[in-house]
């Protein structure tokens, strides 16, 4: 078996893969589950997690189960006291040697209060919850994932679903922008520290999802709202299936530089 350091450019998706997708109850998370299920090798397992069990079960019903077994585990990433149980549920019943590839996709995220300007954010509890959900959860879940699948046996891939908001400041979006900026940086550090792990930050573009609809109808800044409404009206919103397919293509090619931030439409690469 190829040494883990040469994992770049070798095909990994077609191997028996243990794959976790967070926020898999709808939107991009659901599309990722569906697209990946068609690409993962025989004997793969897909673990879907989110808050909504019914949403997860609907995703489970849509997924191609020819080669892949699917498990759903509901939990709330805002509640760090529950991580121990949640992670135990996600990583249960893994027989050593079965999987040759392990893939973790940090897709779950929240917008935070998009009505507030920076100077209006005053509630420490609200902010704590925001960074717990969007930053803390990704770090600790990654740590657990890498412990469960040590490097000598298995190629590991970690994907951070990010946004251009991670490097473009947007009015009334300081929480979302700063959460993505933090995540993008943390994943760059991870890539430097652990060169044997394939680390990718992927920006899916503005998509036709419930998150975008919420954003468009609630965002406080009028200029931003106008921009978002125009995107929707001009039919420029991407289908989440499209963005999911792009990510699967990138993972299949496996040629990206570890730690890079890539865009679904190829508009930027950091």
């Amino acid at each position: 078996m190829a040494s883990p350091e040469s994992a770049q450019n070798t095909s990994v998706l077609g191997k028996p893969t243990f794959c976790v997708i967070t926020g898999a109850s709808r939107g991009l998370g659901r599309s990722l589950a569906v697209e990946l299920s068609g690409s993962l090798g025989e004997g793969s397992r897909l673990v879907l997690t989110a808050r909504s069990l019914s949403g997860l079960e609907q995703t489970q019903a849509l997924v191609n189960k020819t080669s892949v077994s699917v498990k759903v585990v509901s939990g709330d990433l805002e509640d760090s006291d529950s991580y121990h149980n949640l992670f135990q549920g996600i990583f249960s019943d893994i027989t050593p040697g079965v999987f040759q590839h392990a893939l973790l996709i940090h897709n779950a995220s929240s917008l935070g209060d998009v009505t507030k300007r920076v100077v209006e954010h005053r509630d420490a509890v609200v902010l704590q919850k925001y960074y717990t959900t969007n930053v803390t959860s990704t770090i600790t879940l990654t740590a657990r994932f890498l412990q469960i699948f040590p490097s000598c046996d298995v190629t590991r891939t970690v994907v951070n679903i990010t946004s251009s908001a991670g490097f473009t400041p947007i009015k009334t979006n300081s929480l979302y922008c700063s959460g993505k900026a933090a995540r993008d940086m943390v994943f760059k550090v991870l890539a430097e520290e652990s060169p044997e792990v394939r680390v990718l930050s992927f920006s899916p573009g503005a998509m036709d999802t419930e998150m975008f609809e919420y954003y468009r109808t609630h965002v406080g800044d009028p200029e931003v709202r106008t921009l978002l409404c125009r995107l929707a009206e001009d039919g420029k919103l991407l289908k989440p299936e499209f963005s999911a397919q792009k990510l699967v293509q990138i993972l299949e090619e496996n040629s990206y530089k570890s730690g890079a931030v890539l865009d679904a439409l190829g508009r930027f690469e950091h």
Binding site: A124, Q128, T132, A143, S178, A181, M185, L190, S194
Partner: protein, 261 residues
Amino acid sequence: MAAADLKVATFCVVTGASKGFGRAVAINLAEAVGDGSLIVITARGEGGLDETKKKIEAVAPHAQVKVVAGDIAGTYSDALHARICDIPSPGSFKHAIIIHNAGSLGDVSKLTSELSDPKVITDYYQLNVSSVLCLNSTFFSATASIPNARRTVVNVTSLCALQPFKSWSLYCGAKAARDMIFKVLAQEQPDVRVLSYAPGPLQTDMAEEAAQKTADPDVRAFFVGMSKSRSGLDPDVSAKKMVKLLGDNKFENGSHVDFYD
């Protein structure tokens, strides 16, 4: 952009002012501002704050100094923030400045893959990101009562906001988050001068901690070398540069400026 007249009655807040860069900033800012200014210095270490106060009074007798000791990210931080931002006779000030300097290195003995305790991470973001937002918000409400006052906000940042450093993911992530918050602030409020200032590698307790605890051998070697040769930047030199930047007032709003730029 026209130069900023710092020599006016100014309401200043400096966090983490009990030592290191925060102390140097408080002293240099006090010298730069005008008669009738009030410098509020805050940190957890009351002893350090008292020492900072003495040093300010020695060089800037025209400025009044108020010491507010406490934990800006602690349980009673709302009340602490209110005390920090309490402005007596708002009508007497022409300028309000806040320097968000307080911060911590975080656990640099662990790689990202070893950060298993969510409480450690959340507490870290509470101090280095959330409390900054909260205090900043209180500062803005309080200074709204100063008629026609200019407002200046400084985020003390780092090269780590721009570049990843092994075993420093907590510090790098939080600095990246902060830089972004202040870019958004600059966009939302173009009338406020917003600067993210990276002071350079300073000779401070934080650098000593980095030398002793950093897990990654390359990053640790840099700080050990700096410690042995005492070649870290003098915080006073970096603070003077920061004050000059504020006075010259040429920086792009919301931008990240490094000591070495």
